[in-house]
């Protein structure tokens, strides 16, 4: 960051603080805090329950637990480490979720930035049509893509007896899950990133073009660095989406325990052990820990994106 822009930012921050003092009202703050607590209670109830003894959970409300504290880590010990064979511990699914989520975030975002760049800055016939089509594709229900895609991954595509795409031999690996997630993420990612990239001042692009920079260098050296805040913001949502997804993991994982994500296992437990709250509560918390860490760790990217956006206004 240059000195001039640093000064500008700090000036803005000082101005903000001044406005902040004048605007913060105790009533507004109070309402906000009440709402925040209200929002947290259901999760908190589950959290408390996950530390309670099995015998206590089914005979008293979790809110009574503090009168007679009798907490334990046993539930976590059971879901994380106990079990083998057909009932592996959650730790395994935890690792699987990572192996699914990281590539399924990076790959679609990279490809979406490419497309968003082209749609925002290449002048060609039918550009609007393509863009609007992509926007419309957001609503194509995921469920209806499942069967054709499953068949594609399992045995390729044949049209009229001619093999268009051969059997790729990738069933049972993470690859179909990565590809499927990339496909489904594309419309929203392109749409949102396009909105951001289209805001890059025309002068910047044109200046680079006049200097003789080709489109590939322009993307690498100008557009991509400028769009990192937007990418980071969307990456957070995509990460959460994939980590929390059930349908794609279930369908393209083929129910194989070696590659199934955490959510698939949890849904299974919820169905077969629906009233074993000591297992469900602890399991649910194992699955939400990572998204929470990601959110808190990357929160400053939100802020950076906001600063980038506020320069415009």
């Amino acid at each position: 960051m240059t000195d001039a822009s640093t000064t500008k930012v700090s000036q803005r921050l000082r101005g903000r603080r001044r406005v902040k003092d004048a605007l913060s009202s105790p009533i507004a703050s109070f309402i906000a805090v009440v709402l925040a607590l209200l929002w947290t209670i259901p999760t908190f109830g589950l959290f408390v329950t996950s530390f309670r003894q099995v015998e206590d959970i089914n005979v008293s409300g979790w809110w009574t637990a503090f009168a007679n504290p009798n907490f334990t880590l046993l539930n976590y010990n059971r879901v994380l480490f106990e079990g083998e064979g057909a009932n592996p511990p959650l730790t395994q699914f935890f690792f699987n979720s990572f192996a699914i989520t990281i590539p399924a975030t990076i790959i679609p975002l990279t490809l979406a930035v490419f497309a968003a760049f082209a749609l925002a800055w290449f002048d060609f016939k039918g550009r609007d049509f393509i863009f609007f089509t992509i926007f419309g594709l957001q609503v194509v229900p995921l469920q209806m893509s499942l069967i054709p895609l499953l068949q594609l991954f399992a045995r390729g595509v044949e049209i009229g007896g001619v093999t268009v795409i051969p059997d790729l031999g990738i069933t049972g690996t993470y690859i179909p899950i990565w590809i499927a997630h990339s496909m489904f993420a594309m419309p929203l990612a392109i749409f949102l990133l396009h909105n951001f990239l289209a805001q890059i001042p025309r002068e910047i692009i044109e200046a680079a073009r006049v200097d003789g920079t080709d489109w590939f260098q322009l993307f690498r050296m100008v557009v991509f660095p400028l769009s990192i805040p937007a990418i980071a913001s969307f990456a957070i949502f995509q990460f959460l989406w994939v980590w929390n997804d059930l349908l794609v993991g279930l369908t393209f994982g083929g129910g194989e325990r070696d590659i199934a994500p955490l959510t698939v296992r949890l849904a299974e437990l919820s169905g077969t052990r629906g009233s074993d709250w000591e297992l469900l509560t602890a399991g649910a918390f194992v699955s939400i820990v990572v998204p929470l860490i990601v959110f808190f760790a990357l929160q400053r990217y939100f802020v950076r994106g906001l600063l980038a956006g506020s320069v415009k206004g």
Binding site: I31, L35, F95, P103, I130, V139, L240, L266, W277
Partner: protein, 326 residues
């Protein structure tokens, strides 16, 4: 397989997968930059648009066309039946109920999520410690529908025996207020609204984050000017804040509407679509993957698509306007 060896395997797969992807992308960029200027003129479309186009064609457009085709075919997709599947959808009372439920979802969930998100974003915009409030409201957004389903099933859990104390929060609260709690998730049409509450609980955080970001982008000068004019808090909200973030509100509303239309996890995990809570996305899954009727399942998908077209049309119009302004 032991946990540690599984970890090693997963890391290997993860790193090699990403390395391969990075290598291909870098290689393409290096080669493309070396190409002749005339070659680059068409090569740039291939490099930048090609991968996304391929993914969209194979993953979404192809299957969508197939869905349209299948909606005019019988259960096995082998015989042409005309509009029979659509007639079926609008004649059967249980499917009409599904359509009505979907309509309730699509109206209530986006409206409440956006409104609550807007209010909370405004309340916390200049608040000391607002970051904590925002984090807590956003938290449900980080939770999977499966996790949220478990959390709320617990809140709504019903104690059938009179003698035992409640373990569900909602039952306990309503008893405290002097009401006899019903078996929440079985009671139509109340149960549909209880399921929608879960969606609102999740999506409010999304609305708040996006709208909060838009509010931060409002220049301080504008806010200060309205303060000097002596505008009240409420007036400032209505006359300054809301109009200035209007386009963000539209984006949030349409994003949540689309998410609401497609959601089936909540219904699936909490009631399985029973007790008159089913929605189109769930019924479509039931028809296509349980009843194995691709015809009716596809017809429901098309109805869903038609239902969302007005939103798409409106947004496209907005987009056109913005583009002409530029």
């Amino acid at each position: 397989m032991g946990i540690s060896s599984l970890l090693v395997t997963n890391i290997t797969v993860l790193v090699s997968g990403l390395a391969a992807f990075a290598l291909i992308v870098t290689l393409i960029f290096v080669l493309a930059s070396r190409a002749k200027v005339t070659t680059q003129e068409w090569l740039r479309y291939l490099v930048f648009l090609g991968p996304a186009a391929l993914l969209l064609l194979v993953g979404l457009i192809g299957p969508a066309i197939r869905t349209l085709y299948l909606s005019f075919m019988n259960a096995s997709g082998e015989e042409f039946v005309g509009f029979d599947n659509y007639v079926w959808a609008f004649a059967r009372p249980e499917i009409l109920l599904v359509l009505r439920n979907t309509l309730i979802w699509v109206i209530v969930a986006p409206l409440f999520s956006t409104l609550l998100g807007l209010i909370i974003a405004y309340l916390t915009d200049r608040m000391r410690g607002g970051a904590w409030v925002k984090s807590l409201i956003f938290m449900p957004m980080a939770i999977s529908f499966v996790g949220a389903g478990i959390i709320w099933r617990f809140v709504y859990s019903f104690q059938p025996s009179e003698s035992k104390p409640d373990i569900g929060l909602l039952s306990a609260i309503s008893k405290g207020l002097g009401f006899d709690p019903p078996n929440w998730l079985l009671e139509a049409p109340l149960n549909t609204f209880l399921l929608i509450a879960v969606m609102v609980w999740i999506q409010t955080g999304f609305a708040m984050v996006v709208l909060g970001a838009a509010m931060k982008a409002i220049p301080d000068e504008v806010v200060e000017a309205s303060m000097l004019d002596g505008a009240s808090q409420w007036k400032r909200f209505l006359r300054v804040t809301v109009p200035m973030i209007r386009s963000s509100i539209v984006v949030v509303l349409s994003t949540i509407t689309i998410a609401t239309l497609k959601v089936f996890d909540i219904v699936r995990t909490m009631t399985g679509g029973n007790f008159q809570t089913s929605v189109i996305a769930n019924e479509m899954y039931t028809q296509a993957f349980r009843a194995l009727n691709y015809g009716t399942g596809s017809a429901l998908a098309i109805i869903l698509f038609v239902g969302v077209l007005p939103i798409v049309a409106y947004n496209i119009r907005q987009l056109r306007l913005e583009r002409t302004e530029r």
